[in-house]
Symmetry: C2
Subunit: 268 residues, 2 copies
């Protein structure tokens, strides 16, 4: 089993139950906070056990209380099983309190090319010419354990934040691989769609940008190999930033996309 599959595993609490137990893994953290994409993957894995369709297609999550590594439960409710898709709701509960809620659509993905596409894969230098993101970045003030299990190499054009020279474009692009060599799947792509650091770093705002609400669409089954991920913001104001992420597989096809609304502290 891959490190990701093990970390996001769920077990039914009883044979016909729609409630699952999970063990939230401290490896998938940024500082002391579990990564949002990882938490959604745990919830989506539980929902997938109940769904009448095989693949995660859409997920929207709202994070109320940051859960801690350790035991948690996921309660799933099947809202509807239609012909083409199943719709579900999942609640992640820890210490008796709801920590996160998700709306989930399961469908059937394939690996066919697009019928029509308007977005080309990002133009990013080869992996070996990109800057490895490290778990112990100097001056970060906390350890990004996640970067021990996700190999992320950042386009040097938007890696200037690391030396106090952000480009100011509100863009960060990277290559991403799972560190244990396993391939991406629709669930692990949720981690790739919420890269570290947030694009606010490229705007000169080096601080935590907690996710308020996050939505991802999984578009097709990814080909083996690394994904290219581009994240960009369009508007920062009123203490909020939007971030859009798009991922292309090794064949250059769009495989997933996400948007999130995050809280930011604007410099004075």
């Amino acid at each position: 089993m891959s490190a990701f599959a093990a970390a996001s595993a769920v077990s039914r609490t009883a044979p016909d139950s729609a409630e699952f137990t999970a063990e939230l893994d401290p490896q998938w953290t940024v500082g002391d906070k579990l990564h949002g994409g990882y938490l959604l993957a745990v919830m989506a894995r539980a929902a997938g056990e109940i769904a009448h369709h095989p693949h995660l297609t859409a997920i929207s999550g709202s994070f109320a209380v940051p859960p801690r590594p350790g035991p948690a439960t996921v309660a799933v409710e099947l809202l509807r099983a239609g012909t083409g898709v199943s719709q579900l709701r999942a609640t992640l509960v820890q210490e008796g309190k709801p920590a996160a809620e998700a709306l989930i659509t399961q469908g059937t993905l394939d690996d066919a090319d697009s019928w029509w596409s308007s977005v080309e894969p990002i133009d990013i230098p080869p992996e070996e010419n990109c800057v490895p993101a490290t778990a112990d970045a100097p001056g970060a003030g906390f350890r990004v354990n996640l970067l021990d299990v996700v190999d992320q190499r950042v386009d040097p054009r938007h890696a200037g934040f690391a030396v106090g020279k952000p480009a100011g474009d509100g863009v960060i692009s990277s290559w991403q691989r799972l560190a244990d060599g396993s391939d991406w799947d629709p669930l692990s792509l949720l981690v790739a769609l919420d890269p570290v650091p947030p694009v606010s770093y490229d705007l000169g705002m080096p601080g935590w940008a907690p996710t308020v609400q996050f939505t991802a669409y999984l578009r097709r089954l990814p080909a083996p190999g690394p994904v290219r991920v581009r994240m960009f913001a369009t508007d920062v104001g009123g203490g909020r930033m939007d971030e859009t992420a798009r991922a292309w597989d090794s064949k250059g096809r769009p495989v997933a996309q996400a948007t999130q609304l995050a809280a930011v502290r604007v410099p004075r």
Copy 2:
């Protein structure tokens, strides 16, 4: 009271209840289906009665069963009331069955300019040079009652679908006003963010594109006057299309944005 406020009104079923009644208004329909943005607005209005913060900030909705015009209930659960935001879940129930679920974040919006923005308002001809979208479009096969309460004027560069000559760009831009002259607010903007027709019309796919999952972010309080809305797709394949909508107010500031995953039938 504006037509929109009346159509989306909710009443508590009892003084301290978190359950509300609503009367879904047949005016806010496309064919015989209630508009998704309108349904979310009804749910958000109910959530706003429970929230500790005044303005809708983010909403993600999953549509299971298309509700019919007539009585419905909205059950709201407050997941968390934090310092900056309230997080809630709402369920729209009709005839005893959940028809739609929404995750909602309420916060505090203002009308200040952006601190940083990368997206300019769309370049669209003046309203009087745009093409009015009519409720009784020839050949549509159904009546778009919504277009009697929302004045929508489409950029002629992407109105070719109406005469069988779609531009093929996957873009439709429009001016939008509420027909009764009232101004946009964070709830009514949910209607503006899901314009009719879907961008698939600009790709030569004139058919219903039912929403699978929809997410909107409200960014600031809109200035009085019309909004400019641009909707675009990035990928069509596997029976699915993504649509992104952005709205700018009469001062040219981004006020709201949305993404949706919709089902489409690709031409052979």
